[in-house]
């Protein structure tokens, strides 16, 4: 996946400005062939703009786009080996499902028997066998999106761009479609670039993802790495449910960094990051790795702890979240698998510690 000739999409110093607004700020990015790549980030971050720059719907202000190592920055969408799936409204409303799916093939002057076969096959693949004669408005939202997928798949272009393809669907359907998308991508072997602001969606589908915020690339990597081992504070804040503590480096012992949080001090592993005493840094801890601990019980293993007051337990079904207010007023979440029968409940308002293993804390220097 890292070999030079296997790169499907490469973006170098890509920028796009709308007057004073910098929608995309000098982004560098590489996406391997056959990869399912997600662009994740908050609304207005520049994901759509980046995707459209890759697809050729917008001209870059600066920088280049390479598809299969070929510069395509000057080419219109129809001359690029990409095809796009839109959020909605993108089916041709005056054509049947069959005609929609076959449109690209007809442009390519493929023989009509062949078009018929390919379209029928593709409709089967996306689970719309027998819907060929319908008009787009006679389909549900999920079915319409599958027609869009079929319309792109059938062209056998090798890069598929998806801009919030599931945003118009309800939560259940979205989950099903996520799994379906992943399955289809593996079956067809195309490179997918999937824009979403829903992290669950991104985690479900993507092998690799990039976090885009404020026009810049914040962090890029394997989905599981970004979840378990984020480098940037922003990533920790955006992905998963993390407790974040801001402080200053007070002492450095080899790769253990001591961070002064004001009222208390916490030790954390450096993970190879260079810091010096006095630096402003942050520590993040996933809520499922933080535990609420009675002040009376002494723990069996060494933990980094902070003291606070128990606010409430929120039962969420599978898990229960303990909401704790630290002495400095910051709120912390500790989440564990619900245990309705064995566990004891903590009364609201009691003093309590929140703790985690040293290796579960993550240092962020930016």
């Amino acid at each position: 996946m890292s070999e030079k000739n296997e790169i499907a999409v490469e973006v170098k110093g890509l920028s796009k400005s709308y007057g004073p607004v910098q929608a995309v700020k000098s982004i560098d990015l590489q996406i391997g062939m056959g990869e399912y790549f997600a662009l994740l980030g908050p609304s207005g971050g520049g994901k759509t703009t980046l995707l459209r720059l890759i697809g050729g719907f917008i001209r870059p202000t600066e920088g280049q786009v390479f598809l299969h190592n070929q510069e395509v920055s000057h080419l219109p969408p129809n001359a690029r080996p990409t095809s796009m799936v839109f959020q909605s409204f993108a089916l041709f409303p005056h054509m049947t499902v069959e005609q929609n799916v076959g449109y690209g093939l007809r442009l390519k002057k493929v023989a009509s028997d062949e078009i018929k076969d390919k379209v029928a096959n593709m409709l089967k693949t996306v689970g719309l066998d027998g819907y060929g004669e319908r008009m787009p408005h006679e389909l549900s939202g999920g079915q319409q999106q599958r027609v869009q997928l079929a319309r792109s798949f059938v062209l056998e272009t090798d890069i598929l761009l998806l801009d919030e393809p599931l945003a118009a669907l309800d939560a259940n359907l979205r989950r099903d479609m996520c799994i379906e998308l992943k399955r289809l991508q593996e079956k067809i072997g195309m490179t997918f670039i999937h824009v979403t602001h829903n992290q669950e969606e991104a985690m479900t589908v993507a092998d690799n993802m990039a976090i885009i915020a404020d026009g810049s690339l914040v962090e890029m990597g394997k989905s599981s790495d970004l979840y378990e081992n984020p480098i940037r504070r922003f990533t920790a804040d955006f992905i998963g449910e993390n407790n974040i503590f801001d402080g200053q480096v007070s002492k450095i012992e080899d790769d253990v960094i001591h961070v002064d949080l004001g009222s208390s001090s916490i030790a954390v592993l450096s993970r190879g990051q260079k810091t010096s005493v006095g630096d402003k840094v942050s520590i993040s801890v996933r809520s499922e790795l933080a535990r609420a601990i009675d002040t009376s019980t002494s723990s069996t293993e060494p933990l980094e702890t902070l003291s606070g007051i128990h606010r409430e337990s929120v039962y969420l079904g599978l898990t229960t979240s303990e909401l704790i207010t630290l002495d400095n007023g910051q709120e912390v979440l500790a989440r564990q698998i619900s245990d309705r029968y064995g566990g004891h409940t903590i009364a609201n308002g009691t003093s309590i510690n929140v703790g985690w293993r040293q290796q579960d804390g993550r240092l962020h220097i930016s």
Partner: protein
């Protein structure tokens, strides 16, 4: 869409009102048509059916020429004004300043026809004068007739007159169309022109054809601008009016007036019928296709 509690009489009264208004508006027209078939002409006690007056129109050379030149004027105007309206409607959909576009496009509607006609007349006269002077100065006579009153000036006047209508009619049919559809077509490999022709045009063609019909009728019926700007009384309405003013209403005038109405009604009627029949047929087909799948 009536709810069960609304009065039946309210509904009937609305129908009655509509029919009454339409009848009041159309009655004189129908009356003129009625007279135009009377052998004995206007005010006669006896009614003998005849086509004679219509025959006279077609044997009247002046009249036939007038019809021809009016049709030419209308057709040329359509050829220019419909693409112009289409382009502006497309601009309206993509611009950041839609209010500016719409105000500019609709402004000709607020100028009374005689004022616009007179203003253009003065404009063309002056332009003509200026160009003739320029030609004398350069020493060629080539520029002398560029802005003489004639087809060109009349068509400019008619374009200014009909453009707002064309713009609005096309704009209305653009409602359903989304730019994502064009982008999707582009990403399927279509050029900009193919995307327009395959995806956008089929969705707005009702508007385009309606505006063609509309423009034809507007031009055919137009008197003020045409008479001021064409130079000479040789179009359908100008001939009709000048005959009426000079010779009084002849039986032939009734026939001519009726003829204009027939043409207008025929054009509008066929547009409406075509649109209705087509949309109904599409709906029927769609329902027939959807039903077996719904059941399964």
């Amino acid at each position: 869409m009536n709810d069960d509690y609304s009065s039946k009489w309210g509904y009937r009264l609305k129908w009655l009102y509509t029919l009454l208004v339409v009848t009041t508006l159309m009655l004189p027209v129908f009356f003129v048509m009625y007279i135009s078939f009377n052998e004995n002409g206007f005010g006669a006690r006896d009614y003998d059916f005849t086509f004679e007056w219509y025959g006279l129109i077609f044997s009247d050379l002046l009249m036939m020429e007038a019809i021809t030149s009016t049709l030419n004027l209308s057709a040329i105007t359509v050829i220019f004004v419909v693409p112009m309206g289409l382009i502006t409607a497309k601009l309206y959909k993509i611009t950041q300043y839609p209010l500016a576009v719409i105000s500019l496009m609709l402004s000709p509607l607020f100028v009374p026809s005689d004022i616009l006609g007179a203003a253009l007349l003065v404009f063309f006269k002056n332009l003509n004068g200026a160009f003739t002077l320029f030609g004398e100065w350069v020493g060629v006579s080539w520029f002398d007739t560029w802005f003489d009153l004639g087809y060109f000036s009349a068509i400019v006047g008619l374009i200014i007159y009909t453009l707002p209508y064309v713009f609005v009619v096309i704009l209305i049919t653009m409602g359903r169309y989304r730019k994502e559809q064009t982008e999707a077509a582009r990403s399927c490999g279509a050029t900009a022109w193919q995307a327009f022709w395959h995806v956008e045009f089929p969705q707005i063609k009702t508007g385009v054809f309606s505006s063609c019909a509309f423009t034809l009728i507007l031009c055919f019926n137009e008197y003020t601008r045409t008479s001021l700007l064409k130079g000479g009384f040789d179009t359908f309405t100008t001939v009709l009016v000048s005959q009426m003013l000079n010779e009084g209403m002849s039986e032939q005038s009734y026939a001519m007036s009726s003829l204009v109405s027939y043409i207008a009604i025929a054009i509008i009627g066929s547009v409406i019928i075509f649109t209705l029949v087509r949309s109904e047929r599409l709906e029927r087909i769609a329902r027939a296709k959807a039903e077996p799948l719904m059941a399964s």
